[in-house]
């Protein structure tokens, strides 16, 4: 089980998937020029590392893409977890999704990069538009969708058999989108995740040896290494202590310059701190969405007000 080495299928796969998605993107009149970035070779990414992840540099990077959900419904077998949601996630903004446990917010974001369908018996209906491209269109390669829309999970889960370096390099290697200098890609991703200074001298050590907060930033670096347009975060701080949480939140603020961020959180203060816009969900339905300040101070729906003031949930 070597890390390197790629069979002939690798190149086949690349040739198969990319033009297909490209055709789809080109055929759709509503596609903005940046949506075709899905098919752009990873080597053309502007990934020159900045000395300390200075915000000024991040701004040069290609911007994130917007996502809009149109009548999205998600099922586990016959159980409907998301019941027809229309919601827009604006490009280069942080949108938080809040709501009580079991309201379907995790299921909702798992539909965006089509991870929902990995669960046996699970399926989704409706449309998820990445700019003008419906990621559920039959001609769309699910693998390409996930390269464009990264995901950070609740529990930090670096690959246990891999070193810190290999964990970050896993994306480019697993997707065979490795172009140019892998070391530079890894360094750039680690810098963007604010982890470079802590691990630069021990890149060969196992990723599982880091602290919980470092592991989660390693996972963020791992998802950044494939240069996604959108990053979905499913309660990324719920397993972390307050200091590690703060670091992740600062990171989110920097990352939104280059990607669109959707974050599911149970922590309403966190939503208030990091999100530009906040959406409140209840029983699989969207109750209200708007600028974060408005949701927390002048909610339009009484249920939102009850939730954000702690009357239930």
């Amino acid at each position: 089980m070597t890390i390197e080495g790629s069979g002939p299928e690798v190149t086949d796969r690349e040739h198969e998937s990319s033009p297909e998605l490209g055709d789809q993107a080109g055929a759709d009149a509503g596609v903005s020029p940046s949506a075709s970035r899905i098919t752009r070779p990873a080597g053309s990414e502007p990934s020159a590392p900045s000395p300390n992840g200075a915000p000024g540099h991040e701004a040069e990077q290609t911007p994130g893409l917007s996502i809009s959900l149109e009548q999205l419904r998600a099922f586990y077998g016959s159980n409907e977890a998301v019941r027809g949601v229309d919601l827009e996630f604006r490009a280069n903004e942080v949108t938080a999704i809040i709501g009580p446990s079991g309201c379907g917010k995790s299921t909702l974001i798992r539909c965006i990069n089509r991870m929902h369908e990995e669960i046996p018996g699970a399926q989704a209906e409706g449309r998820v538009m990445l700019e003008g491209l419906d990621v559920y269109d039959p001609s769309v390669d699910v693998v390409a969708v996930r390269r464009a829309i990264g995901m950070v999970f609740q529990k930090p889960n670096p690959f246990p058999t891999m070193s810190i370096f290999d964990n970050v390099a896993a994306g480019p290697r697993l997707t065979s989108s490795r172009r140019g200098d892998l070391r530079q890609t890894v360094e750039s991703a680690l810098r963007s995740a604010g982890l470079w200074d802590e691990v630069a001298d021990r890149l060969d050590e196992p990723g599982a040896g880091l602290s919980g907060g470092q592991q989660q930033r390693l996972c963020i670096a791992r998802s950044l290494a494939v240069d996604p347009d959108v990053i979905l975060m499913d309660e990324p701080c719920s397993a972390l202590d307050p200091i590690a949480t703060l670091k992740i939140e600062e990171l989110i603020d920097q990352l939104k310059r280059r990607v669109t961020i959707v974050i599911v959180t149970h922590n309403m203060q966190q939503a208030a701190r990091v999100a530009d816009r906040t959406a409140f969900m209840l029983d699989g339905r969207l109750v209200e969405v708007g600028p974060t300040q408005g949701i927390f101070t002048t909610p339009k729906d009484p249920r939102t007000e009850e939730y954000v003031t702690g009357k239930f949930g």
């Binding site: 089980m1 299928e9 996930r146 390269r147 896993a170 697993l174 494939v226």
Partner: protein, 298 residues
């Protein structure tokens, strides 16, 4: 609790009653006793193996074939070379057949067939096969490959019988280990945009490798020690033979025939052969563990 006030009352609430102490001591003794009881046969086996087996070990023991001349006290009975080489060959061929197929079945069951009806049928069939006595596999091969082809015993037929025997063990152990790989690892690899086959080869299998090695070794060890399926598939012979189409000797069969001999020196050879069999499996274990540890770091 309140530190001041009537002191006797609160303290007695926290004291362990003598009755509880007694029961605790009793339970601990019982558990320790059962452990020691289980260790007794294990220690005795190792003791007798070394005590009786080492005595018959010599250079010629490993470099000569059994002569078959066992009637006189002073006759040269020969060594176990053909048996060692035969076992290594038969088990190696059996492993080459059963391990790749078994791991593929386990991967299909866990990564692709999960929840499907066919998967539960396969799982049930594997469970049934695990419980089938080894002699039945031998019988099956005997009927199909020996009687069925109208030919005689052969090394490869023994391998086929052992492969059938190993298959369910390999599948079951590999499946259990694959299920232990956290689904979060699969998900985060898939979420990076990795195709499923790469997730399996680069993330799932490397994570599962050390555990899989253990399970596979169990299967190999079990096959290596089997006598019944070999008796009427590979047969028994004296000469070293590298032709898998011919009769082939093996350690378990050699031990079986030596133990039933009335000659003391031949009976001692059985102990020596048994010690050799155990040593081979132990060696295999150590080597495979070292190999899997190294590949994990690479």
């Amino acid at each position: 609790m309140s530190a001041h006030g009537a002191s006797a009352q609160p303290l007695s609430r926290f004291a362990v009653s003598p009755e509880r102490r007694r029961r605790d001591a009793l339970a601990r003794t019982a558990i320790l006793g059962a452990t020691i009881l289980a260790l007794i046969p294990l220690v005795l086996i190792v003791y007798y193996l070394l005590h009786k087996g080492l005595g018959s070990w010599s250079t010629s023991f490993f470099t000569t074939d059994p002569t078959g001349d066992t009637f006189f006290k002073n006759s040269n009975i020969g060594g176990i070379k053909s048996a060692i080489l035969g076992t290594l060959e038969i088990v190696a061929i059996a492993s080459a057949m059963a391990i790749p197929v078994g791991i593929c079945v386990a991967i299909w069951l866990v990564e692709y067939g999960r929840g499907s009806r066919f998967a539960s049928i396969v799982r049930f069939a594997v469970d049934v096969l695990t419980g089938v006595p080894s002699i039945v596999f031998g019988l099956f091969i005997y009927i199909v490959l020996v009687v069925g082809t109208g030919s005689t015993y052969a090394g490869y037929k023994g391998s086929c019988a052992l492969a059938l025997l190993m298959l369910p063990v390999v599948i079951r152990s590999a499946e259990v280990i694959l299920l232990l790989v956290p689904s979060g690892l699969r998900e985060s690899a898939l979420a990076l945009g990795a195709p499923r086959w790469r997730v399996i080869f680069r993330v799932v299998l490397p994570t599962a490798l050390p555990g899989m090695v253990t399970g596979v070794l169990l299967a190999v060890a079990r096959a290596g020690g089997e006598t019944a399926p070999l008796l009427f598939t590979a047969g028994a012979t004296l000469k070293t033979n590298f032709d898998l189409g011919q009769f082939m000797n093996s350690l378990p069969v050699q031990i079986y025939s030596d133990v039933t001999s009335p000659t003391t020196s031949v009976e001692h050879r059985a102990w020596g052969a048994a010690l050799a069999l155990v040593s081979i499996i132990l060696l295999l274990n150590v080597v495979a563990r070292l190999a899997s540890r190294r590949s994990r770091l690479g």
